[in-house]
Amino acid sequence: MTARADLVSHRESMPESRRRSALRRKEAIVGYLFILPALIGLILFYVLPTLRAAQISMTSWNLMRPAKWVGFENYTKLWADGQFWDSMWITLLYVMYNIPVQTALGLLIAVLADRLAKSVTFRAVIIAPYLISNVVAGLVWLLMLDPLIGVTNSFLGLIGIGPQAFLSSPDQSLVSVAAISIWRHVGFTALLFYAGLQSIPRDLYEAARLDGASEFAMFRLITLPLLRPVLVFVLVTSVVGSFQIFDVIAVTTQGGPADSTRAVLWYIYENAFKFSRMGYASAMSMVLFVILILVTLLQMRLLRGDQSDLG
């Protein structure tokens, strides 16, 4: 008997269920091979640093001397650190300024672009700010919002509004930072919504039009419910992104004036690289990490992010 005939007879003698599970195992191996490069990246750049940060958070380490194991001491210290909770509050305020406006504005732009002008130029223009880095956007706006030489005050002057301090005022600085972020991200958000709108069949709107639905009724009863998966994606990514606001603050206010823009990531950065408290900074990072996971899970659960009515 040849080897091939052997194989065939062996296969024939295998029960159907075993043959199928062997095939499935083979397919699974191919599947794992496909995701292997991404898996390696994830482990190297996300999982290992996270584990390392968790380890450092249990130590006292100033980068000069070897780390000293302190257990949960950093966490108990953090619990009593008023400045940390202040920075969390500032971050939360920033998220609350940023997300509703960015989401509503992005949705409005997307719906208008979809219903009125399906222009490629328009889409290119609205996405342009997103192509600029946060640092450059921060620098440009730092100049534009300058109370003395900035163009923003000149424009406000034209409509009779007096000069504003913007980034130099403790009352306006956080709103100004949020505005810069909105300006940079709203186009991208709009583009995500615009892409989501393309997946809603046109004839649903035609059927609604025949039923006598107004544009607003169509938006409320068709667009919004069917856009839910995109909305969840936008909310989760922008909320997580907003909690991590850093570069615009680093370029424009550096946490000031009077700590009014000291968001949590800036506070972590100060502890790690200004005061060389790596263990303490890592403990704060771990707390932020857990908070973001909880926020994401909550959003997914509340908005049924894993379910789509389409398709």
């Binding site: 069949p201 004839d203 609604a208 039009r209 025949l210 039923d211 006598g212 068709i222 069917l226």
Partner: protein, 360 residues
């Protein structure tokens, strides 16, 4: 129920003229089917009636009222879309009642009408389901139900059965015919399937390249087509077309020599005058070809399709012209190379001039 009237209706998209001078009258309660090949403008015409497309020129009247500039929702029409256009996030009940919430229909009345439509269409047990959980036929019934609850003057159907499998299509065809009878509704129905058109319509409108080619009752179009396009489009399998030349013309009798077939010239009696040498096309329906008959053609078989009660024999002659015969019983006919003789009665043949117009 109201009828509708289209007068000199045209549609232009910029320079593209897609609907040309359509004049058509649909009587109240009539089932009118627009049929034609893809891109002939039948769906565009339907959408113009619905108000989803503007009418560039001409007038549209529904129930005697000009509605060119009337909002789609105020025209008294309801439409069933090819894709069903069901709202995927709403239940069957909410889908059925969707249109009523905008004209301030009281909730009790919405419930009553939804219940009645659900009963008519046997959807009672599916009212709480989402469209995703329905079969194709059930979705189709919900789409029809959504139109029914609005009690429109005119129902518009845009290729409603094209997404269904063959068996379901036949069932739904019967269902739609039953519904038309029950409701006595005026229906304008678009399809590219001439079987649907033949079985459902009181009146068929055949369109080609944005123009009406012929309007008439199904059997009138089948028996008395105005031109070669209608003759070929209505009827399945389609009519056989044989090129020929007028070899003799005297009085109302013409003799036609069939160019590529090894057959004797045939004599036809016509009112229209033709001259010797005129190029013509002779049309013979597959069921009018049999194994005997006054005019004889010698053929070689290619394929034989046995459908049980009847058979189709696909064959060709020495010159390569292909023909199809419909026979009651073709068990003795072998596919692939058997020599057979096809006969027909010239009185049942159709004659078309060089421009494709029917010579009567």
């Amino acid at each position: 129920m109201s009828g509708l009237e289209l007068t000199d209706v045209n549609k232009l998209y910029g320079d593209a003229h897609v609907i040309h001078d359509v004049n058509l009258s649909v009587e109240p309660g009539e089932f009118c089917v627009f049929v034609g090949p893809s891109g002939c403008g039948k769906s565009t015409l339907l959408r113009m009636i619905a108000g989803l497309e503007d009418i560039s020129q001409g007038t549209l009247e529904i129930g005697g009222r000009e509605v060119n500039d009337v909002d789609p929702s105020k025209r008294g029409v309801a439409m069933v879309f090819q894709s069903y256009a069901l709202y995927p996030h709403l239940s069957v009940r909410e889908n059925l009642g969707f249109g009523l919430r905008f004209d301030k229909t009281p909730k009790d009345e919405i419930d009553r009408r939804v219940g009645a439509a659900a009963k008519t269409l046997q959807l009672d047990h599916l009212l709480e389901r989402k469209p995703k959980a329905l079969s194709g036929g059930q979705r189709q019934r919900v789409a029809i139900g959504r139109a029914i609850v609005r009690k429109p003057e005119v129902f518009l159907f845009d290729e409603p059965l094209s997404n269904l499998d063959a068996e379901l299509r036949v069932n739904m065809r019967v269902e739609i015919a039953r519904l038309h009878k029950e409701l006595g509704a005026t229906i304008v129905y678009v399809t590219h399937d001439q079987v649907e058109a033949m079985t459902l319509a009181d009146k068929i409108v055949v369109l080609r390249a944005g123009r009406i080619e012929q309007v008439g009752r199904p059997l009138d179009l089948y028996d008395d087509p105005d031109n070669i396009f209608i003759a070929g489009f209505i009827g399945s399998p389609r009519m056989n077309f044989l090129p020929g030349t007028v070899s003799e013309a005297s009085g109302n009798a013409v003799q036609v020599r069939l160019d590529s077939l090894s057959a004797e010239p045939i004599t036809l009696h016509l009112k229209d005058a033709l001259s010797v040498g005129d190029t013509v096309t002779v049309g013979i329906r597959p069921e009018h070809l049999s194994q005997d008959g006054p005019a004889q053609i010698r053929l070689t078989t290619d394929i034989v399709e046995h459908l049980g009660g009847e058979s189709y024999v696909y064959a060709h002659d020495d010159g390569g012209t292909r023909l199809v015969m419909k026979l009651g019983d073709a068990r003795e006919v072998r596919p692939g190379g058997q020599q057979i003789t096809a006969g027909f009665d010239p009185a049942r043949a159709y004659l078309f001039d060089a421009d494709g117009n029917r010579c009567r």
